[in-house]
Symmetry: C5
Subunit: 98 residues, 5 copies
Amino acid sequence: MVLARVDGTVVATRKADRLEGLKLLLVRVLDPKGKPTGPSFVAADAVGAGPGEVVLCAQGSSSRLTPLTENRPVDAVIVGIVDEVEVEGAVTYAKGAA
Amino acid sequence: MVLARVDGTVVATRKADRLEGLKLLLVRVLDPKGKPTGPSFVAADAVGAGPGEVVLCAQGSSSRLTPLTENRPVDAVIVGIVDEVEVEGAVTYAKGAA
Amino acid sequence: MVLARVDGTVVATRKADRLEGLKLLLVRVLDPKGKPTGPSFVAADAVGAGPGEVVLCAQGSSSRLTPLTENRPVDAVIVGIVDEVEVEGAVTYAKGAA
Amino acid sequence: MVLARVDGTVVATRKADRLEGLKLLLVRVLDPKGKPTGPSFVAADAVGAGPGEVVLCAQGSSSRLTPLTENRPVDAVIVGIVDEVEVEGAVTYAKGAA
Amino acid sequence: MVLARVDGTVVATRKADRLEGLKLLLVRVLDPKGKPTGPSFVAADAVGAGPGEVVLCAQGSSSRLTPLTENRPVDAVIVGIVDEVEVEGAVTYAKGAA
């Protein structure tokens, strides 16, 4: 999984039937300190993530292993909202901290 | 999934039987503002996308999770036509806007 | 899928049983104009591709979705021989053209 | 699989149900000498790895092939704790060596 | 698949049960001339490859498509020992040649 930040939303009216009802969020990959370093991509939301939140994304076939995304043509899904990242004993990211 | 722009078409007369009847489009990965930044690849079209449109592409095994692409040897599929991308509260791409 | 050019062949006498009988070709990823830009890799041939031909390659689990490659340990397969690539209304590659 | 070092932990209280009970570790890809060279990512722990340990990570659908991770939306799992890496006859990494 | 050279071995005493009995080799991706150009990774050995040999590696879910690796948490497997690579009519690598 990767750490990512929810940056926005993607709206697609015309889409594959099996995407109906999924919230599609634009996310960007973060380093362990919460700094954007990687590419942006679009993930289905399985946990009710909001804008700016740091989340955990699963990619590939594992994206279909949540009840919301089962059998759907999605290759990335948000599976958790990150509360804290700790690296070598120090907290490098904490939700709510400035 | 990734945001991508439909740049063209690929014609292959001699091909695997299970590719018959699929429209194969050349797409290029975009950043959230709709600027081409990533590589070009070929995706099967599951939604009737047209040239120049900004689309949502699923890759990997999830490409086979639409009725059109089921059991076919495709590793990328267009699953939606993007109407709008919003980043941090601002619309960065809107279909039809110049 | 990616556009690729058949550059050569790979011979492996000692191999997994399930690779027996497959032709293994060395291919290199091309940009939409047919210029080699990407990495080289080895793909199973499902369409009878020849040296120098521009082909369409599927990768990942979808590589096993042709009758020839079913249940085999291959992660790339040639699924089509490209006749023409058209980008923004102009032909950027045509088979047989110099 | 890749060699990686366990750098930290990720805590996510709100998450997909099927992630419950999994320990999520932050790991970073290493070169054969144990030097961090690759990206950081988050892996489920299937072997009880501790901070600073060099581990073996499997990615993609194979991440679900341990009893702990079966049917869960994870795309990376720690499947071994590395005791020794040997390159061209010389030990380049040994657990416990300074 | 990719061409790779067997550079060494990885020993992991504590590991997922389903990895038991597999030989884990450190390999490095080669270009068509046999020059190391890509990253190093760890692959299960399904063909009895030895140090220094040029091999063919399959990655992803296809890694589990050999009798030795079936249902195991591996994402890379050596499926062949390369005897010869030919590019544009010229042999660029031959086993045993200096």
